[in-house]
């Protein structure tokens, strides 16, 4: 071998040419392992950060009106996300936001919310309201944010316009 020989003089030119195969740098495996562990640690930290923000704190993003009505006392006045369907005809727009009823199958809750409601906010649409009950026994909910939880169904707004007998679009 090149490095085991007595000296450079012992090695002929022909040998030198034949011994030019690439030599792996020393400690490559160790470097690779250290880098891989580093990547995995950073990755783990990032995932833990995301999980702590998301799934661990709100695996279930909201409580439904029915769940809240069934265990009203346990919610007290703590901040929560309340989900229900906006009762038809109950929306009253105010200068600071809107008031309305959200319904479940077993009852309803009155909501008075501050802030501009989203574009899709309307009667009979499912919403998630961030807020809290005004007192420990009250059924009035003070909201600070309204989010619309639209359904997975899609229906054409004016189906007759594209299904006119003569095929025209009107």
């Amino acid at each position: 071998m090149f490095f085991q020989s007595g000296g450079e003089d012992d090695v002929s030119d022909a040998d030198a040419i034949n011994e030019l195969s690439p030599v792996a740098p020393p400690a490559t495996k160790k470097r690779n392992r250290t880098r891989s562990i580093g990547v995995l640690v950073v990755l783990l930290l990032a995932i833990v950060a995301l999980l702590s923000q998301g799934i661990l704190h709100s695996l279930n993003y909201f409580e439904t009106v029915d769940q809240v009505l069934a265990k009203r006392a346990s919610f007290g006045t703590e901040t929560m996300r309340l989900e229900g369907v906006v009762k038809s005809g109950s929306i009253v727009r105010t200068s600071t936001g809107a008031s309305f009823y959200v319904t479940g199958s077993k009852g309803e809750v009155f909501v008075k919310s501050n802030g501009t409601p989203p574009q899709l906010f309307q009667d009979n649409i499912p919403v998630v309201v961030v807020g809290h009950f005004t007192t420990k026994t009250s059924m009035n909910f003070a909201g600070s944010q309204i989010m619309v939880k639209h359904t997975a169904s899609y229906i054409e707004k004016n189906p007759n316009r594209v299904k006119a007998p003569n095929g025209s679009v009107r």
């Binding site: 030119d13 030198a16 040419i17 030019l20 690439p22 792996a24 490559t28 495996k29 470097r31 690779n32 880098r35 891989s36 580093g38 990547v39 995995l40 950073v42 990755l43 990032a46 995932i47 995301l50 999980l51 923000q53 998301g54 799934i55 704190h57 709100s58 695996l59 279930n60 993003y61 909201f62 439904t64 989900e83 409601p117 989203p118 574009q119 899709l120 906010f121 649409i125 998630v128 944010q145 309204i146 989010m147 619309v148 939880k149 639209h150 359904t151 997975a152 169904s153 899609y154 229906i155 054409e156 707004k157 004016n158 189906p159 316009r161 594209v162």
Partner: protein, 241 residues
């Protein structure tokens, strides 16, 4: 001959389908009864998410599994997994961006830490982690093996994302197409346009994957040529001294 022709037509056909999807989605399909014009994003966001989650991440995970299986182990599988994961990162980013653009007017917020969105964000981090892991390993075989094991393990997040809207209460809507009772919740021209968008974006993925793969082969050849050149230079030095 036929193979060459189909390869040549694949790109233009993809672009044509993308164009058809754009025209149908933006102008021809009527607005939605509840969401109005906002629903036009249904012809982009779900199909981009489909590619990100199932097609590209799935391709990377399956190629990785095939690499780990001795009978099918080859550098081709490693390359496909690597390239598919790179394209996957782009589609995951597009999924999060288009979802956010849709979420702001529809939900009222850009982002919500619900199970679907959080698990999707985690998928993005995992895909980036895969690419970082590849960069962390110099040795070809070791890199291929480690990244393949990683890709197969983290693929568990895909079914978690898929079922998140069933397992937990989320702000994100439930499934429209892949519903638990196999009932379509979209019909008529809306459904056909959605189908075209799924096909168009799937074809776009395979088109991008093909070119990314070719780029990877060229890069490897160039690296090999550089090594050969360096060795030749050393040989010349050796003979001259």
């Amino acid at each position: 001959m036929m193979k060459q022709l189909s390869q040549r037509l694949f790109g233009p056909l993809t672009l044509i389908l993308m164009g058809v999807n754009l025209v149908l989605g933006l102008w021809v399909v009527p607005p939605d009864k509840v969401q109005g014009e906002l629903a036009r994003l249904v012809y982009i966001h779900p199909s981009v998410a489909w590619v990100a989650l199932y097609v590209s991440f799935g391709t990377a995970a399956i190629s990785s599994a095939l690499y780990l299986w001795k009978r099918t182990r080859s550098v081709v599988m490693d390359r496909v997994a690597h390239c598919a994961m790179e394209v996957s990162v782009v589609f995951i980013a597009l999924t999060l961006i288009t979802g956010s653009i849709w979420g702001r007017p529809a939900w009222g917020v850009w982002w919500a830490w619900d199970a679907r969105l959080t698990s999707s964000a985690i998928l993005g981090v995992l895909a980036l982690g895969y690419l970082a892991l590849r960069r962390a390993n110099d040795e070809t075989e070791l890199r291929a093996r480690r990244s393949a094991v990683f890709a197969v393990l983290v693929a568990i997040n895909v079914p978690i994302i898929h079922f998140s809207v069933q397992w937990w209460k989320t702000l994100h809507q439930g499934a429209t197409v892949f519903t638990s009772n196999r009932t379509l919740l979209i019909h008529g021209i809306q459904a056909w346009t959605l189908l075209i968008s799924f096909i168009a974006f799937t074809m776009l993925f395979f088109w991008l994957l093909r070119y990314r793969y070719r780029l990877e082969v060229l890069r490897e050849n160039l690296a090999g040529a550089s090594l050969e050149e360096a060795l030749s230079a050393r040989r010349r030095e050796g003979t001259q001294s």
